[in-house]
Structures are given as structure tokens and as C-alpha cells.
Symmetry: C2
Subunit: 472 residues, 2 copies
């Protein structure tokens, strides 16, 4: 009896640690220029950053700098345990900088997304320049930081930023850990169908039946929702927060599903986690345990699908209904990313329904561009990122570790080969989206443990190399 | 008699070649975005570029790309004979791109310098992005250029651009010849007095007396121009186009002199040339041959000075009067550079009159910034270039040849050490400002001949290295 109780308490503490990983930091703001590259706009704004010096060797110890990506920076601070785990052994100062136009770092406050003349400064180049100014300021303002080695960290788009940061400003960052950074997910570099194929593979690996249930679900939705009774049935069967009424609602529902299956592939971690949503260990396995009868009639098939969806939207049991407008942690702000995807971060995706389980959808740049223009008043520049950062041609770079998990659909746009002696690629076969950046966990597969060790070796090399300048 | 005549004709042809070096090119325009880094301003403009394919191997031959600097691009095309000289042996396509806001590449036409919202896009970052877009376009548009190696060339600020171009966009340019590129002429890197000391040394090397005449001339001007008679005398003695009247006129006159002595140090070439002005060989020697009596009274001293000035402003004998507003070739547009110097290219200069021959003038950033604000409505960002490009910390760069002539005062802000195996510094002891970029000349000193040979070796290496990618 006592033992069972103790087990329960242990389980409770473990769950608390998983879901409320609270790291310690102080919050500051740094005044940034809205435009770092021209002088036509004199505006400034406050960029938020988080800082922790608990472990720091104030006599030149390194700076671990997280290059914030598309969300509230606290989300990334809470989900980048690797930096916190290794900060003590490196005696590092830990900094998380928020990406402009996300979280509370809004250059024009509530107006930031209202007009192109306000929103237009949301680009990766401007964000990197923010980080240059912030680090330069901190190194001069913090006693003992003047000669500190700076290591950039980032996952996903943050990993792209970390890698590009080192490429463009090697005098500011001495090395970069770029985790799950799809710097090749651009036009004419990575085939648009690869991403969806890998999402599908993650499910069909559990069981081909599971993937087939999803593949068949699109037609089942269409068939069921042809009339009002069906719309009402699905609304009720799936506990939707808002009743389905129009064809647009069906499109939104399908978009939600596309995102859920994709997100599950991204966060298929080997232990319970709460990155995009609170989820059990290996969530795809759990989802697929419900998706077993692909040949069912539409209604029973969709009931199966709902059992799977429940794992995603209601693992905690706290959700009263399924809100198809809430695809992931609300701290991931889709507004800003929609603008970035419509301007510089044009990443082509396409599905054919055969090699993947999605509804067939070709990549239609023209219609995509038209939608962007309607939404934001701007046409995309699909080659901007490649022209700026080089696409596949990164042979002149140095001191970057690219890591990719092979479960992660974003790995299809990642750097999967060793570029040079100092620009290396680590493959984590059992890894999902930036698993290596998460805190260490008893259930980590050996491949991620090894990847982290190699990352640490590189970090030490960068520190040794840079420190040697000041030892002479 | 006949021999003398032949000599005369030969001399005439030689002079014609010196002064009318006409290289062959076609002129084109490419539509550029005014702002490459943000989406707030949708404007575009036409950037001029010159192109010559006479020598080009249209099957992947290299592209020699001059990164235009602060002037009409034809001036640089006419004065960068090195590129034209070696294009045939490399079978290279020759391109000269005009820098935005100079020559005819004015983003807002005649309004370009009227308002900060028009002028504000005149920065080195935007100019480099223009070149990225232009080269990327040309490589895709010109048959056979797709896999061409691109070598950037530039002198002075153009050399800074060439070096930075390689640092920031190594996927676009495979190597850079950065001639007399003072990338270290910024706050807290190079002492502000070094430049004036080297100008002075160029004159005192001819004779200490020569430098002393100039050193004494400032007081002589003050003494003579104390009254109206003196102002009239100096106006007449120096054949000034506009009579001296106000103290402001005296300041302008002195500024003119500072520029003349500086320009002479820059273009102290071993043969007659016409870069900033038509000048004889070793113009400082010729000037100094007139500046021999430093202890003269003010008026005879200033008469001496005028003899020296005549070498600069009227070597051709065509000038009817001395125009102190015409400091150099009118194709060097001071308007744009004044804005750049007031914003990003803040280069501190100071004089003490002891180690140099100028009137003492400390570097007064505050008053400089105030003047900039009054003129342009903008405050300088003195650390912008260093934050963007790294200042002295260029250890991560590759494939750059920095060349500096030790006669050239800009060499004090140049890279005078080998940074790595592929980022090297070539010193040309007898060289003035980017002498190596000029066409070969019978009177070239051996050091520049050797420098050019080493430059060619590096260029060949870059071509070999890049071409190897496509041979496999």
C-alpha cells in the first residue's frame, strides 16, 4: 500500500517535471533599431531576452545564446533543456533572445501586424542583426564577458538562424548548434513531396493500417459531411467546439488534421513531453493503437480517427471540446510565421496521397502568392533566403553542427552530410524534431546521447580556439 | 629632325593612352529592390552595369566582377586596367556594376538626396545585396555562365565591398581582390592620426622643406587673409574662380588644400595618370619641386604653394582658374559619400600639425554627428560597419587578397598581415592608392608587378577550386 502510494507520488513529481519544466531566468529588454540595414526608418523597439548567470564563470566563461524563433521565447527556454543541462559544466552564461514580432517583442505593439509598413521588418536578416547588437552590447556591458566565446543554439527555424548567424557574423558567434534546421526547405532545392512522405512513413512504420486510416479519412469526411445531418453528426462525434456548417469549415477541419499529423511526426519523442501539446511517450504509437481498421465505413472510420485525435488535443483530459483553431501551444504565434512564410520563408510542400497519406495537393506557387498578397499586401520572394544564405552552397562556412532526427519530417530539408571538418552533420535515427536540444531523459535513445556528446566536443573546441586568442 | 618629330608623335600617343584609356563595354540596367532586407518599401530602381564579353570563354569561363564604389561606374571601368589586362588570359567575362546612388543609378532620380526616406537606402549592405541579385540573375540569364567562378574586384571603398562581398556571400563570389581597402579605418580600431601622418610622410620623403611649406601655409593664409586687401591678393595670386570674401570661404579653401595634399598622396603614381585629376608621374615630387622655402614670408610662401597646386589643378594647362569646389574628377560624386560617411562609413581622422603638416584638428565625434544631423537628418552609427563586418576579426573569411601600397595613406586602415592561408596581404612598398588595379605600365615598380602575379595565382586557384565542383 505504502509502496503504491510512493510510486504514485514519484509518478506525480515526474509528470510535474515533464510538464512544468521551469528554468530560472531574469527578463530584460534591449532597445533595437527597427531597420538595421538602412536609415529611412528611425524607429526603435524593445526586444525581450532572458538571462541566467547561475553557472557562469564571470571571468570569460562562454555565452550560450539561443537564437529565438517563431514564438514566445519562454516556450523555447522551457524546451531547450540541453542548454540548461550543460551550462554548469561549461560555466556558461545562458541567454535566450526573443525573435522580433513574436512574444512581447512587437516593434509596433498591437499595430505590428496591421500594415505592411509595420509588419515589413519581420525578416530573418533583421532578426539576426538584432542578435548581433544584443550580444555586442552584452559583451561590453557585462563585466567579464568581453572575451567570452559565444555559442549560438537553435532548433527548427531557430536552428536555421543559429547556422546563418555563424555564417554571416562569425566575429559575433564562434560556433552554432543548429538542430533540425531545414535550411534546404526552399524552392528548387528539396522536392516538395519529401516532407509529407516522411510524415506518412512515421505512421506507417507503426502499422500500414494506421496510415491507411488517415489516407481514407479525407474521403470519409467528404462523404459524411455532404448533408446537414452529417455535419451535425461529425460535430458531435468529434466534440467540436464550433459546429461545422460551411465548406470553409470542412477545409479548416482538414487543415487542422494535416497539422496534427505533421505535429505528431515532429514531436514523436520517446517520453511524455509538452512541446506543441501535452503528449504521451511515442505519441504516434499511441495514436496508431486506435487507427486499426482502414476499411471501415466512413462513420466508424472517423470515430477511430477521433480516438487518435484525442491523444493529441486531450491527453491531459482537460479539453472540453476539440478546437480546430488551436493547433499547437498558443505561444507559437502563427501570425508572424504566416507573414514570414509569405515573404522570405517560402517553403514548398505538396502531397499526392499515394506516397503520402494526405489529400493530393500540388505546390501551386501562383495561388500561394495570390493568397499572400491578399492577406499581407506583399508578394513572396521565394529565392530571397537562398540568395542571402547560399542554399546548399555552404562550403565556406565553419563551426556549425547540424543535427537531424530521422523521424522528423523537417530532416528532409536539413543538412545531412558533413560539409567540412568543422561543419558537420549528426544524424539521430530515433530522433524527432530537435530532440537533442531537449533536456536529457532516462528514455533518451543512445543515438541522441551520443549526438549530445559530440556537440559538447565541438563546443569545447570552439571555446578553446577562441580563448587561445586571449591567452597569448 | 624627323626623329624628334617621331618622338613627339610617340609621346602624344602615349599621353592619349594615359588620359583617354577607353575600354569597351556595353551598358545595361537591372531592376533592383530599393530594400533587400525588409518588405515595408516596395520600390524598385534601375542599377547600371557595364559588360564586356570579348575575351569570354562562353563555356563556363570566369566572371570578373567590379564592385562599384562611390562614383560613376565608368570612372572605375576606365581606371581598373588590371581587370582588362588579365581578362584575355583568363577568358573572363568583365562586369562593372554601379553602386546605388552614384552615377546614373539613382533610386529616386533627382529626389534621391532630398529626403531621408529616399536617401536612407544608401548603405553598403544594400549595395552588396544589389550585386548578389545582379550576379545571380546574370548567371542564370547568360548562356554558359551558370557554373562560372565569380571573382570580385574593387579598389578603396570598392575594395572594402569586394572583401565584404566574399565574407558575406561566399556562395556568390568565390574570391576577392580587395585593393587599398581600409576596412579597419573605423572608430577604436585605427588611431585617427595615422592617416595624416602618412600623407605628410609622402611629402617629407621628397624633402622635409616641402612638408614644412605646407605646414606653414595654414598660418600664412590666416595672416594674409586678415583684411580685404589680403583676401583680394590671395584670390588673384591663386587665380581663384570665386573671390574669397568670408571666413567660410577661408575654411573652404583650407578644406580644398587638405583634400589636394591627401589626393596627391593617394595618386602618387610612377607615371602620368588621370584618376582624381590629370597628373604627371610622381606628382608629389613635381609639387615639392616648387615647395622649397619653408621660412618665406606669408605671401612668397603662398606663391610657392600655388606653384605646387598648379600641378594638381592645371597639369593640362586647360584650367582658367582654380575652383576650390572641384576637388577631383566630377564623376566621384561627393554627395553620396558625404551621406555614407555620415551614417555607416564613419571614419575618424585627426591632425596635430606636429607629426603631420595639417592644421591641428581633433576628431570631434559629437560635432561631426551634429553636422550630419543638420545636413541629412540622421545621426551616424559609428559602429555599424564593425558590427556588420567584424572589424579586425576576419579570421573566418577565406579567399581574399588584400593589397596595400605603402605610399597610400589609406593603407593605415588596411589589412597588412596574412590572416590565413587564403586571406593574404600583399604589400607594395612603392604603391599609391590601388596601383595594382591599374593597367600595367612600363614604369611600374617591380613590387606591383609581383603583386599582380600573386593576385593572378590566387585567382587561378579560386577558379580551379570552384570548377572542380562541376568536373566531378
Amino acid at each position: 500500500m505504502e509502496v503504491t502510494r510512493l510510486l504514485h507520488i514519484t509518478l506525480l513529481i515526474t509528470l510535474l517535471l515533464y510538464f512544468c519544466q521551469a528554468y530560472n531566468y531574469e527578463t530584460y529588454f534591449y532597445k533595437q533599431k527597427v531597420d538595421h540595414f538602412s536609415f529611412a526608418d528611425p524607429d526603435t523597439f524593445n526586444l525581450r531576452y532572458l538571462i541566467n548567470d547561475d553557472f557562469w564563470d564571470g571571468n570569460g566563461g562562454p555565452i550560450f545564446f539561443y537564437a529565438g524563433n517563431e514564438g514566445d521565447i519562454t516556450l523555447f527556454a522551457d524546451n531547450t533543456g540541453f542548454m540548461w543541462d550543460i551550462a554548469p559544466e561549461f560555466n556558461a552564461l545562458v541567454i535566450f533572445a526573443e525573435h522580433r514580432y513574436y512574444g512581447v517583442s512587437l516593434p509596433y505593439g498591437n499595430d505590428s501586424f496591421t500594415k505592411l509598413k509595420y509588419t515589413g521588418y519581420l525578416t530573418s536578416e533583421q532578426a539576426l542583426a538584432d542578435y548581433v547588437e544584443l550580444i555586442t552590447y552584452l559583451k561590453s556591458a557585462i563585466d567579464g564577458a568581453k572575451n567570452s566565446t559565444v555559442v549560438a543554439f537553435g532548433g527548427s527555424y531557430g536552428g536555421m538562424l543559429a547556422a546563418w548567424f555563424r555564417m554571416k557574423y562569425p566575429h559575433v558567434v564562434q560556433g552554432a548548434i543548429a538542430s533540425s534546421a531545414p535550411i534546404l526547405q526552399f524552392t528548387d532545392i528539396t522536392p516538395c513531396e519529401d516532407f509529407g512522405k516522411l510524415v506518412t512513413a512515421d505512421f506507417s512504420k507503426e502499422s500500414p493500417e494506421c496510415a491507411n486510416v488517415i489516407r481514407n479519412s479525407w474521403a470519409a469526411i467528404d462523404s459524411v459531411t455532404r448533408n446537414e445531418a452529417g455535419l451535425a453528426w461529425l460535430t458531435q462525434a468529434w466534440s467540436l467546439c464550433k459546429p461545422l456548417k460551411t465548406p470553409q469549415d470542412i477545409t479548416s477541419l482538414k487543415n487542422y488534421l494535416v497539422n496534427v499529423w505533421t505535429n505528431l511526426a515532429m514531436v514523436d519523442y520517446p517520453y511524455p513531453a509538452n512541446f506543441l501539446a501535452p503528449l504521451p511517450a511515442y505519441p504516434i504509437k499511441v495514436v496508431c493503437s486506435h487507427l486499426t481498421e482502414a476499411n471501415n465505413d466512413p462513420k466508424p472510420l472517423l470515430e477511430e480517427v477521433f480516438q487518435g485525435l484525442t491523444v493529441y488535443f486531450n491527453y491531459t483530459g482537460d479539453s472540453k471540446c476539440l478546437d480546430i483553431n488551436q493547433q499547437a501551444d498558443s505561444r507559437l504565434d502563427d501570425y508572424g510565421w504566416d507573414f514570414q512564410a509569405c515573404t522570405e520563408m517560402v517553403m514548398p510542400f505538396c502531397y499526392n496521397g499515394v506516397e503520402d497519406f494526405f489529400e493530393p495537393a500540388p505546390w501551386d506557387f501562383k495561388s500561394f502568392a495570390q493568397t499572400c498578397y491578399q492577406t499581407w499586401g506583399v508578394y513572396p520572394r521565394p529565392f530571397m533566403a537562398v540568395h542571402m544564405y547560399g542554399g546548399k552552397d555552404i562550403s565556406a562556412a565553419s563551426n556549425i553542427v547540424f543535427t537531424n532526427g530521422l523521424l522528423d519530417p523537417w530532416s528532409t530539408g536539413g543538412v545531412l552530410w558533413n560539409v567540412s571538418e568543422t561543419v558537420v552533420s549528426l544524424i539521430i535515427p530515433e530522433g524527432a524534431h530537435h530532440l537533442d536540444l531537449r533536456g536529457s531523459n532516462p528514455d533518451d535513445p543512445p543515438s541522441v546521447i551520443q549526438a549530445r556528446m559530440i556537440e559538447k566536443t565541438h563546443i569545447q573546441n570552439w571555446i578553446d580556439e577562441y580563448s587561445a586568442r586571449y591567452d597569448e
